[in-house]
């Protein structure tokens, strides 16, 4: 199985006032293509920082982050932004849709950075919204949608540019149980049917159960790796 993400002996130290705060201490992780990885751990364990490094929105203090054979930890800001636009789809806990744009326009946001024509962009948006089951809510504004629906739009925005990897931080953290279940179903579907590599940070063991693998972090160190089932890039898994 080829690896998509390789985290090699990564250290991350934040400077807060005059103090150095180590967040990651020599973490090494490999994420194969088609994986669905859950990152768990207590608050302050470094799981979000690790996710940020994988997503290319932060750089390690030491060590390397290689994604799809490119050492993104060596990229400058501009190159990283361009790389993120084509390789990473973000799913946020609070959805973070732009309130003044309707669902379709929100989903289209990443595509404005591409050279696609207006018609092609519209087709991509319709496809993405269809995948998340919101084709009939294209012209609804975020305030007109439920939390679960907003998160679906957020997922559509994450997948619309067909990224290499989806990163999600507590994607169900703000949802009721039913909506959370639906969102996890959707992420699982994206992983199973569309072979999207998913890296998800969660506190919820039930959410982590949906992943193929779970990594536990504590105080910036990888403490446990739980392999639930082999990574199978093609074909759906059983419930």
């Amino acid at each position: 199985m080829s690896s998509l993400v390789e985290i090699r002996d990564v250290h991350k130290i934040y400077r807060r006032d005059s103090f150095d705060v180590p967040v990651l201490n020599g973490v090494s992780v490999t994420v194969p293509k088609g994986d669905f990885l859950a990152l768990m751990g207590p608050s302050g364990s470094g799981k979000t920082t690790l996710l940020n490094l994988i997503a290319g929105i932060d750089r390690p203090t030491r060590g390397q982050v290689v994604v799809d054979d490119k050492e993104i930890s060596a990229f400058n800001e501009t190159k990283l932004a361009t790389w993120r636009a084509t390789h990473v789809g973000f799913i946020f806990q609070m959805y973070n849709l732009i309130p003044v744009l309707d669902a379709a326009d929100n989903v289209e946001m990443p595509l404005l950075l591409t050279k696609l024509s207006k018609r092609e962009r519209r087709e991509h948006v319709e496809t993405a919204l269809k995948i998340v089951g919101l084709a009939d809510r294209m012209h609804h504004f975020p305030r007109q949608l439920s939390g679960g629906q907003e998160q679906r739009v957020s997922i559509a925005r994450a997948i619309v540019a067909d990224p290499t990897i989806l990163v999600a931080d507590e994607p169900t953290g703000d949802l009721d149980a039913k909506s959370a279940h639906e969102i996890l179903d959707l992420l699982q579907q994206l992983n199973d049917e569309h072979q999207k590599t998913v890296v998800m940070v969660t506190h919820d063991p039930r959410a982590a159960e949906r992943a193929r693998r779970t990594l536990h972090l504590d105080k910036g160190i990888l403490v446990e790796s739980q392999h639930l089932e082999p990574v199978a890039p093609a074909g759906p898994r059983g419930a």
Partner: protein
């Protein structure tokens, strides 16, 4: 979906805030446009005699010092002089001191030769010339005081102990001066000769060929250089600019007030734009996370802020244009502002200033947004 749509949606994201900001900026730019228009009006007044080939001859000592009447014929004898006329500033008012307007005693028979830019119907001009106590007045005065031709009007002197009692014989039209009052110099002179002793305030010289104006001007002054009454000769524009120079401090004050207003609007807009940028920190972080480069975010925000500034400026400036089209400022200012309006130059200046206000006020918030660390911005999101 386009960037333009995104900008416009963000611009009117908070309708109340945007509307209030636009109205506040509009009010300030209304004021600035008014100030600049008054300055333009002053300039136009200074240039009102341009192209009339007229020279004004006054005492070299000061405008308040009179010149002997005997200068007239000597000036007239100079080659190239088409005609010469006497003009005396009388400075009287009508009924009450607040009813003040420019009033002059002039050579009644020189209206059509020296002041030929003042158009008077022939029958009215003839009536004025024929009546020693006749007067020609501007249309604004007719309107303001409800006068009509044939009305008997008494002015009350302030400078001279002389209350001119005249009959309105005609109404002139002029492209700029709409509120002056002219009557016979002979009438003034006969009444005041004991006091003025054969003098007059200024002579106005009509020159046949404009190319000769510098020469004639020099010749007049040279001619009286060593006399008891040396002269200083100006073109009409220079003469008018003397008065503008007298109110130079007022012009400076207007400019300073305008600049202060613009500075105020920059601060105000900066506050609004900072608020707009701050409430979007998480959105900007998300945009950066999904691949929007900082310079694109900077551009989008600057365009939004420049549009906001421009709209505020347009509201105020065009509002002023419309208001002054319907409000008669000549009447409101008792003739101080004549033919007042907001011209194209003032509109262009205000709109450019408004766009710059947007750029200056929005520059820092937009720059900070563009420089925002994705992780710091997302810390509020994740």
């Amino acid at each position: 979906m386009t960037f333009q749509k995104l900008i416009l949606r963000n611009l009117f994201r908070s309708k109340l805030r945007t509307t209030l900001t636009l109205f506040l900026m509009g009010a300030i730019f209304f004021f600035v446009a008014t100030m600049l228009s008054i300055l333009e009006n002053f300039e136009a007044a200074a240039n009102s005699g341009e192209g009339q080939n007229r020279l004004a001859v006054q005492s070299k000592i000061s405008l308040a010092n009179p010149l002997p009447l005997s200068h007239e014929e000597k000036i007239r004898a100079l080659p190239g002089v088409a005609d010469v006329a006497k003009l005396q500033w009388v400075g009287a008012y009508y009924k009450e001191p607040k009813n003040f307007f420019a009033n002059f005693a002039i050579d009644h028979d020189k209206m059509s030769s020296v002041w030929d830019d003042y158009a008077v119907p022939k029958d009215q001009l003839d009536a004025f010339v024929a009546d020693r106590q006749g007067a020609i007045v501007g249309p604004e005065l007719i309107k303001r005081y409800g006068w009509k031709i044939g009305d008997r009007v008494t002015l009350i002197g302030q400078i001279f102990p002389f209350n001119p009692e005249v009959t309105i014989r005609g109404v002139y039209t002029h492209k700029f001066d709409t509120s002056s009052f002219f009557f016979h110099f002979d009438y003034f002179y006969e009444s005041m000769k004991e006091i003025t002793g054969g003098t007059v305030g200024t002579f106005w010289v009509k020159v046949a060929n404009p190319k000769d104006m510098p020469r004639i001007s020099q010749q007049i002054d040279d001619m009286f250089e060593n006399s008891d009454y040396p002269t200083e000769t100006f073109t009409e524009k220079e003469f008018q600019q003397q008065f503008m120079a007298m109110i130079g401090d007022v012009k400076l004050l207007f400019r300073v007030v305008s600049l202060c207003s613009i500075f105020m609007v920059v601060l105000l807009a900066a506050l609004t734009m900072s608020m707009a940028a701050r409430e979007r920190v998480t959105e900007i972080a998300v945009m950066k996370a999904i691949g929007y480069p900082g310079r694109l975010i900077l551009r989008l925000m600057l365009i939004e802020f420049v549009i906001l500034g421009f709209l505020g400026g347009a509201l105020g400036t065009l509002g002023a244009k419309v208001v002054y089209k319907f409000v008669n400022m000549t009447e409101v200012t008792q003739g101080f502002l004549v033919a007042f309006g907001v011209n194209g130059k003032t509109i262009a200046t205000c709109l450019a200033a408004a766009a710059i206000v947007g750029l200056l006020a929005g520059g820092l918030p937009a720059y900070r947004s563009a420089r925002l660390s994705v992780v710091d911005g997302l810390r509020k999101v994740w």
